[in-house]
Amino acid sequence: MPSIPEGRLSVGAFYNPHLAEELLRAGELIGHLAMADPPAADDAAFPYIRDRFPLLLHDYLGQLSDPLSAHALERARQLQDMYRSPWVAEHFQCLHTQDHESTLDYVFPPLYTEEFLQRFEANARVLRDTVGAPLVMENIPGFFSLEHAQMSEAEFLRRFFEDTGCGFLLDLPHIWLAAHYSGIAAQEYLKDFPLEKVVELHVAGVEEDRDLEGPWIAPTAPPQDILDLALWVAERAPKLRAVTFDAFSPSLTAETVLGSVEATRRAFGLN
């Protein structure tokens, strides 16, 4: 199976099954594909995709605020056996209740407290040991805050990465939004984040949302702001190995995916 070469930055995208033919025809443009869902049983293109691209396991494996079930761990291991991902990704999120009766069905950050830090660290170690590969964790933005946090997002993440040795998957639209709603520049927001732990970057677009009355994550091309931020981070992230255009949706077009990867490569001087 192909692998991401050492010492060279890979620029890739998420696997969108409805665009499989275009991805396969894209030549050397796409360096890797991240897998948000397992391949469907009737996805005839997937064997070719797996032969052609290094794959990154980026499925929902479970929320690490809680212990993963034996079933969830076994599923994670099976996915990793299929993809042989150089690292496995999960998120700093807690979106469903402990009794599973209520879920937000969307990324949502935990409270930044000592208790949650311990929970994430313990459960991340078990997941990492189960899949037998490095684990990277992705930052998740909040839209409101409770008067309960014991530390900042940056401190929570920094301590997590120091304690566990996991890698950092830095999602830049998430940072951009967190900074935007904090009323500061993204570079300023990032000043206490452990950029030296960054292994992978996510880039994508943002657009206005009617309910939030402000910008939010969108499956659109990354604007120059985000690409500039990516370069700024890359200069401070010696372990960075991959940049991924983070969008998967049945409505996504090949033009958007390929154009976004091209723009990202251009920003990094790789075209």
Binding site: S65, D66, P67, L68, S69, A70, L73, E74, R77, C94, L95, H96, T97, Q98, D99, H100, E101, S102, T103, L104, D105, Y106, F108, P110, L111, T113, E115, F116, Q118, R119, A122, N123, V126, D129, T130, F143, F144, S145, L146, E147, H148, D209, D211, L212, E213, W216, P250, S251
Partner: protein, 257 residues
Amino acid sequence: MRSVPTMPKPASSKSDRDLQDKVIRYLADARARNKSSTELPLSPEQARRAEKFGRFLARRYYRDRLARSFRYSRLFASVIGRTAEQVVDGESFQSFLNECVMGSLEAAQRVGQMAGTHLSDVQEPGAWWGELLAYEQAFFLQAAAAETEPAADTPRRRRSAVCRAFRWNLPEILTRLKSAQNIGDDLKKDVLLLFSRTSGGKIYVVELQGSSELVWQHADGFRRVDQIASAVSLPAQTVQDTLQALSQIGAVVLPPK
């Protein structure tokens, strides 16, 4: 063979994790957010932001499920000028957002009804159009209703499961729509379809025939297996096996063993 390690035990009962659960329920339940006060440590400004986020989550949730469930009628969007997911941007959805419990059966029924009505009021692409919409509405109910089913003392149909008789062969119609083939009167055929969803979220649409239909209809939560067997004149083992199969696809809830 490698063994799966045991995850660490959760922390004490009253914890930050419990508070997070309260936040999740608050965001998912518009009625909780409408109350004049909350026990959550939210300032008035942050409560306003949480309200916006709750509405954002619900609109996104139903848009996503409508797009996935009404994908065959969507093939006619350019002809009829409408798609199911347009309802989440309509005026009536605004008032729905003021009171919905995201993932509840009642909310799924309301949104499914909105979509069905929205797509019915058009020049029908074919005589089978109404049946296609009924199929997609039943599918949507499985995709959008994520309530946990209470345990049962006797076999009981899952509340969100739907059994519906069609006068057209819907499975074959879907196959033809996917491959852009014409649909003719040769596809007029009575079929009985059962729509269900497992607790893990997997959706099934299966054709019910013969004894399976009888057992399904009699799994009303009041009869034990032997009483169902007696009512449908089938061996108890046959009924037990059928109920087990229906349970595996999330159509019935069985008493714990």
